[in-house]
């Protein structure tokens, strides 16, 4: 046996391949390959009856081969870029609202007695354990025209002489349920970070004469930035690609990237363009992760 073969078939090697092989092959086949095919599909022509055109067409006159058509089409009409910008703004607003709501809660849990912390965290996770669709549906009831919330808001507006508004199927409904669905993603990383802070730092700041406001902004908050960035990533990315919430709670004008992609694949069946949009979304996500990582590391240097 050559030394190479001995190395290849040694127990440790064999064990390594036996353990990593099956999940590796499965994910290669059903995650990496479909992704690669989507990249290829974005450079193809749509088929006559939707889907993709066959690569070798029976009639040489028909459209075949590769093209940049879908990408040209994407940039030819500003409406597509606009939908991307809108999705970006919705994701940004959701992330900020989640941060504002999650921070006090995470801080309270982190500063609570050790015994009660696990229970308080559990209370954040439990509603998040119920089905995504149910949590969206709950807002359909809460914001419905006959629900108390709509009655109160429109009663107040009526008293001020303003025409009643519809809460359901509006940008407001989309935003509030986006926040609702993703809030735990922000609380958990923030808490994990805040829990590790050394309380003596705050005592030191206080001894140096810093008031509560300065102690927070100059000690607690800068130290919590890694938690802020990881929470923001966990909220921002799923919101950027969300299609179900605008689909269920939004009006006709609340279309986001996710809805546009869904429409291409299941509605108009222009799969090459749907693939192009998906690639654009992937690039947007990667760009965000890169910026967040960059910001996280440069901020980290000052802390």
């Amino acid at each position: 046996m050559s030394s190479f073969a001995r190395k290849l078939f040694s127990h440790a090697r064999l064990a390594k391949w036996a353990v990593s092989g099956p999940p590796f092959v499965f994910l290669l086949l059903f995650f990496v390959l479909p992704g690669a095919i989507m990249v290829i599909a974005s450079f193809r022509y749509p088929g006559e009856f939707g889907g993709l055109a066959p690569l070798t067409a029976a009639d040489p006159g028909t459209l075949q081969g590769f093209t940049l058509e879908t990408y040209r089409f994407f940039f030819s009409d500003f409406i597509y870029t606009e939908i991307f910008i809108k999705s970006f703004l919705v994701a940004l607003a959701t992330t900020l609202l989640c941060l504002i709501m999650a921070y006090p809660l995470a801080l309270l849990i982190a500063r609570s007695p050790k015994k009660s912390r696990d229970f308080m965290v559990l209370l954040v996770i439990l509603p998040f354990a119920s089905s995504f669709l149910i949590r969206v549906y709950a807002w359909m009831i809460l914001l419905g025209p006959q629900a108390a919330l709509s009655q109160i808001v429109n009663g107040l507006l009526g008293a001020l002489g303003i025409a009643p508004v519809q809460l359901l199927f509006s940008p407001f409904a989309v935003l509030i349920s986006m926040v609702y669905v993703h809030l735990p993603f922000m609380v958990l990383p923030l808490y994990t970070n805040l829990e590790k802070h050394d309380p003596s730092l705050l005592d030191a700041a206080q001894d140096c004469g810093a008031n509560a406001w300065r102690r927070f902004w100059q000690v607690t908050f800068p130290l919590s930035l890694p938690g802020v960035f990881s929470g923001s990533t966990l909220v921002f990315i799923p919101v950027l690609g969300m299609f179900a919430i605008p689909d269920i709670l939004g009006g006709t004008g609340d279309m986001l990237v996710g809805n546009l992609i869904k429409e291409q694949f299941l509605g108009t069946r222009d799969w090459p363009f749907g693939s192009t949009l998906s690639i654009m979304l992937t690039i947007a996500v990667l760009l965000f992760v890169w910026i967040a990582a960059k910001l996280g590391s440069t901020r980290g240097r000052y802390v």
């Binding site: 099956p22 095919i37 709950a138 008031n211 979304l281």
Partner: protein, 264 residues
């Protein structure tokens, strides 16, 4: 001065936190309460009834969807548990970077991307008729990462010297796995499996793209119901589903407390 200042701040922290907890729970409570409401409208409380649960039990489409969901969740979580456990061990012991990337990216990226790329792949490349098989494959793909992370966390908490001891005593890699590693990671494996089951039962987005026309699952059925007309039957099914996922999460946390610490 400082003491009263701190007390004041503490009060505000408590008040906002209570507000956030209320924000998390009130919507779900309303769903549960209205599932017992003797009115077609989810607007005001009329009286107590089991009517919507009765409607639910006689809804053939819904029952078929529940059956599909349970079948898909059982098969996909079993396969995902095996593959995910392997992936978790490979990530921890051998540090296979490519595998870490492949297992965790489907978890981190927007769900719709996995959904449409699998749709494209199933139809255009392997010419698979969408249905139970395509849904199961899709669910395994996104569950592997969750199982792997839980198993890896479990492995990270084990003292490495115990494996060396097994080797020194002459155990083969398989014997070491069978008698040392596996019993130690078993709680993590079970927790990961329960997690995969819950994720599969709940999944809407990826199922939506990989289900085709013939097969419906519970979330797909709920989706089409709330798109057409909101009836308290949805509240009833939601309440039961909440009860189920709650049970699964509590069970998973019994096996692996990490599940509830936001580390996964």
């Amino acid at each position: 001065m400082t003491v009263s200042g701190a007390g004041h701040r503490g009060f505000w922290l408590w008040a906002t936190s209570l507000g956030v907890y209320a924000f998390l729970y009130v919507p779900l409570l309303i769903v549960v309460v209205y599932s017992f409401n003797d009115s077609r409208l989810n607007a005001e409380w009329v009286g107590f009834t089991w009517h919507w649960y009765d409607v639910l039990l006689h809804d053939e489409d819904m029952l078929a969807a529940v059956g599909n969901s349970l079948f898909i969740a059982t098969v996909s979580s079993l396969i995902a548990t095996v593959l995910g456990t392997m992936a978790g061990i490979a990530m921890h012991r051998y540090g296979v970077k490519a595998l870490t990337f492949m297992a965790l990216t489907p978890v981190a990226m927007p769900e719709i991307l996995l959904g449409v790329s699998l749709l494209l792949f199933f139809i255009q490349v392997i010419n698979l008729t969408l249905g139970l098989v395509s849904i199961i494959i899709a669910h395994i793909t996104f569950s592997i990462g969750f199982v792997a992370v839980i198993v890896r966390a479990r492995l990270a908490g084990i003292d490495e010297s115990i494996f060396e001891a097994a080797r020194d005593l002459g155990a083969s890699p398989w014997e070491t796995f069978r008698h040392v590693t596996f019993p130690l990671i078993l709680p993590g494996v079970v927790a990961g499996g329960l997690m995969a089951f819950t994720l599969s039962i709940d999944d809407f987005v990826i199922t939506f793209f990989t289900a085709g026309v013939g097969v419906s699952t519970l979330p797909l059925r709920v989706y089409s119901m709330i798109k057409i007309a909101v009836t308290p039957e949805v509240n009833a099914v939601s309440t039961l589903l909440m009860l189920l996922t709650l049970t699964m999460i509590v069970l998973a946390s019994k096996f692996s407390p990490d599940v509830l610490r936001g580390k996964t």
